[in-house]
């Protein structure tokens, strides 16, 4: 934060460069101070303008301070040299612009190719920079460490950061034991997701937030913008319920009310005092979090150590390292295991906060960056080929310049300045492209990109993409320079610009460039093929339910409206009565968990198996008997839940086929028993039926789960499921009205299951991700094919005379056709072979996380190979046709 009295901070890197130039004695620092003072004045009108000014200042300073430093003795020779160098540069720039304008289509092709390559690379870098490279926006972010308790049965003894990030399973009792004993942390806090309904101040609204102990805020060390953040005193039994708001929520719902602190809002029906507003940009656990409630769990006792819902974050004490914290947490957890039997099987895992946040996204982003770099490389190879061909065409012009007295270095300068002009124009185009595409791109991945608010096109990104452009320009320029310096310009002049173009060596360079283009495109094509296939496999998987004509609404009854189980039962049975009366509704049901609308919860359970009682966390959902029919989930054996499975009757469950297979592989599960451990009085439930498997997640497995009867286990938060007649209209609105008739403070939105499925995060990520990769692969392939075409076309043009001689000596035209097509096929074949080898290596690395895709998929290979060959044959046809039609007479006359 820049307070006005502290002055605006200049860009750190720029100030560092300036300090290098002026030194850090008092005189040098006075110059730094002058620059800051001026920056401060300029920053009042435009922040961005001031930053740009500062950088420009440093660059100009670097030049003028150096040259201004010497007392010059007049040296007429030097003056002339400088003048000629300057006019030379100007001449170069003018002349290269002229020569680029002479061939506008070629220039446009080159600039577009570079713009696409640089644009995608810039975009990918902006994402990588914002998510992976930048430090988290907390003070000393490297000291922040996440700790969670994990069952090795879930992910093995060494879970990754991405896996640990998903686990919210630390019980309060365990956390408070950690907090008491951990000495490597200066503060340790616990948090969990929590959504809540705000009402009273405006229309009721369900908002995502978190519950957090004071230790969380102490560890994050960000002061509140208004009021205060949560502290340990807010957790004391009997403390007034308090909430801290995000900046976004404060602006949106409370109109930036400066007097908000102390105001009482209703959250889930409970009067809650707002004690603070966090500053803009504060996001924890992520940017979807809009409030923080004080930790209010009274179950701190030892009774609930089986399962939990918390995650811990701490700040390392001065002098402690992550390794030390890990060792200490392991020791503490081992000691807990010795004291409490239910802690024994768990391990504690600690990761740096940054790692935990980005680990799951890193592979995807790196693949994107790699793909973008491949497009850029293919583009550069293509442009290099075009520029090389141009040098060959312009041999005569260059030779003339040389004859008129231009030195070789002047010629080199001319060629370099041409490629630099092209690269800079391409760079500007690319940066513009990236600028325009960045926001829509980020928005296309809702909720999947962590830190998405921090992703931006700023100076860092601009500098990197400019560097990339300049590097591309130099690289592209050097090839033609190397080529022109090998030419014997005298020979060129004598030969009238025809004849040798550098011979075998030149065509080898062209061919090598094309082969590498093809290889890189094949790499990208087959990678995207693997992703598309994985996506299709997921999309084709049997979901286990029928979502057509199904509407879902998530209803959360506030405790004030229905606190007891009895009240919940009567609330929901009344609600179901309303729902069934809506015209067009053929069935209504309740489910605690359902695909795409609030899932998933796996509390600890015990299964009475052939090998004794097994304990595990198993997904479970409380449903009404109509659930199976409404969702089209088949009952494979035994019976469904029945209206007679009510409170007081023997407790029963229906298990999924996957659960039956896992726990009773060789026996009939009907009549076996399951016990839910996280209730106050765990009770054995009899298995009465087996239901078909359901996939709750797009790319996820078939769930091992059991269904309990809602009447026996009512919960406040339920998905109401409505099966409607096809074509029924107005059902959604009627259902929302029905809820409000019962309780006006409940926010509801009814949406069709197909709609929810399309908005599903995993589905969208897989779909858009493979779409983007395919698009990039298509661009790269297009460029590579263009490369094949341009090299063949150029070689036919260069060999017109040779072909003419062959034809006049009786060479067969079929032979010529074969030679040209063969040349294209050899280049393509070599590229395809290399590309397939590369992609076989890469796909081994990608294998994890791709559903049902073997490393080398014959269909993908076949598709890639045939695409590549078909397009390159098509690209060879036109040059081959030209070659066949060479008229010997015309070929000679052209000399």
């Amino acid at each position: 934060m820049t307070g006005s009295d502290e002055g605006r901070r200049p860009p750190r890197l720029a100030e560092y460069v300036l300090r290098l130039l002026v030194g850090s004695d008092a005189e040098g620092r006075s110059i730094l101070g002058d620059a800051r003072e001026e920056l401060d004045v300029r920053g009042r009108t435009s922040r961005l303008g001031a930053t740009i000014w500062y950088w420009a200042y440093v660059f100009k300073f670097a030049v003028s301070y150096r040259t201004g430093g010497k007392v010059r003795h007049p040296d007429p020779e030097e003056g002339r040299r400088r003048a000629s160098a300057v006019t030379g540069l100007v001449w170069d720039a003018k002349s290269s612009t002229r020569s680029l304008l002479r061939r506008p289509w070629l220039s446009i092709a080159v600039i577009t190719t570079l713009a696409v390559g640089i644009g995608t690379t810039t975009l990918a870098f902006a994402l990588v920079d914002g998510v992976l490279l930048r430090p988290l926006p907390f003070p000393a972010p490297e000291e922040l460490v996440d700790v969670s308790r994990v069952d090795p049965a879930w992910y093995g003894p060494n879970p990754t950061a991405a896996q640990a990030g998903n686990v919210f399973a630390t019980p309060a009792a365990t956390f408070f034991d950690w907090e008491r004993s951990a000495a490597t942390f200066s503060s340790l806090g616990a948090y969990a997701w929590r959504s809540g309904t705000f009402s009273g101040d405006a229309a009721p609204e369900r908002i995502i937030g978190a519950v957090a102990t004071g230790g969380v805020f102490e560890a994050l060390a960000v002061p509140a913008a208004l009021g205060r953040h949560l502290t340990a005193s807010d957790e004391a039994p009997g403390a007034t319920p308090v909430v801290v708001l995000s900046h976004g929520l404060w602006v949106r719902r409370f109109g930036s009310d400066a007097t908000i602190v102390g105001r009482v809002v209703r959250m889930d029906g409970v009067a809650t005092t707002v004690v603070g507003v966090m500053p803009k940009g504060f996001a924890f656990p992520d940017e979807t979090t809009h409030f923080w409630l004080a930790f209010d769990d009274e179950r701190r006792s030892d009774s609930t150590r089986n399962a939990g819902y918390l995650h811990a974050i701490g700040r390392l004490a001065p002098g402690s390292s992550l390794a030390q914290a890990r060792a200490e947490m392991t020791a503490i957890q081992t000691r807990l295991g010795e004291r409490h039997a239910s802690e024994a099987k768990f391990i504690s895992v600690a990761f740096s906060r940054h790692e935990l946040m980005v680990a799951a996204t890193r592979p995807g982003l790196l693949i994107l960056l790699g793909a973008a770099a491949v497009v850029l490389l293919v583009g550069c190879a293509n442009v290099a080929n075009l520029l090389l061909a141009r040098v060959a065409e312009r041999r005569r012009e260059l030779a003339l310049h040389a004859a008129l007295g231009a030195s070789r270095s002047r010629l080199a300068g001319l060629l370099l300045s041409e490629s630099t002009v092209l690269a800079v124009l391409g760079g500007v185009g690319g940066i513009t492209l990236a600028w325009v595409a960045l926001r829509p791109f980020v928005a296309a991945f809702p909720m999947t990109l962590p830190r998405s608010a921090e992703i931006q096109m700023d100076l860092r990104v601009l500098v990197v993409s400019l560097l990339v452009s300049v590097a591309a320009g130099l690289l592209l320029g050097l090839l033609p320079v190397a080529r022109s310096s090998r030419m014997d310009l005298n020979v060129v002049l004598r030969e009238g610009g025809h004849g040798s173009t550098g011979g075998r060596r030149t065509s080898r360079t062209h061919a090598l460039l094309v082969v590498s283009e093809v290889a890189l495109s094949v790499l990208l094509l087959s990678t995207s093929g693997i992703f598309v296939q994985s996506y299709l496999n997921s999309a084709r998987q049997e979901r286990g339910f029928r979502g057509e004509n199904v509407l879902a609404l998530r209803v959360s009854v506030p405790d004030t409206r229905a606190g007891s189980e009895e009240e919940l039962r009567s609330f929901y049975s009344e609600l179901q009565g309303y729902m069934d009366a809506i015209p067009g509704v053929t069935a209504s049901a309740l489910a605690q968990q359902m695909p795409y609308s609030g899932c998933c919860s796996s509390p600890p359970a015990s299964m009475d198996t052939e090998d004794g009682v097994q304990e595990a966390s198993v997904h479970t959902s409380s449903v009404t008997p109509e659930y199976f029919q409404a969702m089209g989930v088949p009952i494979l054996a035994g019976r469904a839940l029945l209206p007679s499975d009510r409170e007081g009757s023997p407790p029963v469950v229906v298990v999924s086929e996957a659960m039956a297979r896992r726990y009773w592989p060789d026996a009939d599960p009907i009549g076996k028993r399951v016990r839910l451990e996280s209730t106050d009085e765990p009770q054995w439930h009899e298995v009465v039926g087996i239901a078909g498997n359901v996939r709750y997640q797009f790319a996820g497995p078939e769930f091992v789960e059991y269904y309990r009867a809602f009447a026996q286990h009512p919960y406040g938060s339920q998905a109401v499921i409505l099966k409607t007649r096809s074509g029924a209209v107005g059902v959604a609105a009627a259902a929302e009205r029905a809820v409000h008739a019962l309780e006006p403070t409940i926010p509801v939105t009814a949406r069709s299951l197909t709609e929810l499925a399309a908005a599903d995060r995993e589905y969208r990520t897989a779909r858009i991700g493979s779409l983007i990769l395919t698009l990039l692969a298509a661009v790269a392939t297009g460029l590579a094919v263009l490369g094949v075409y341009s090299v063949l076309a150029f070689s036919v043009l260069q060999r017109t005379r040779e072909i003419g001689i062959r034809v006049s000596l009786g060479g067969s035209r079929l032979g010529i056709l074969r030679a040209v097509l063969g040349g294209g096929l050899v280049m393509t074949g070599a590229g395809v072979a290399i590309g397939l080898g590369l992609s076989a290596g890469l796909s081994t690395m990608l294998r994890s996380g791709l559903v049902g895709v073997s490393t080398v998929n014959p269909w993908v290979v076949l598709a890639v190979v045939s695409t590549m060959f078909a397009t390159s044959v098509a690209a060879s046809l036109l040059p081959a046709w030209r070659a066949v039609r060479v008229d010997p007479l015309v070929a000679f006359r052209e000399d």
Binding site: G7, E27, R29, D34
Partner: protein, 110 residues
Amino acid sequence: MGRAPMGEVEQWVLLAVLRLGEEAFALNVLQELDREAGHVVSRGSLYKTLERLAAKGFAAWEIEEGSPARGGHPRRRFRVTPVGVDALREGRARLMNLWDGVEAVLEGEG
């Protein structure tokens, strides 16, 4: 000549420092040159010029503590030394000698 020679830019800078008196800080010198003489001098050459003037004994500076707006960096207050004033005086006299007798020509052209 016992004194080091003085260039044109050096002369402008020295005059600006003299005119500014107690307010002769680098940024003010820049503004003064721009406003009063229409000369835009780059900051880099201004600092170098001032340092050169100091090396020749024409100018000197004091270091003052910096304000928060300067990020705590110190600032330099420049002044013209007596030797510098002499040099300016001498320069002016030489120029005046040269101006003598050309007024008529210049007027005629105007």
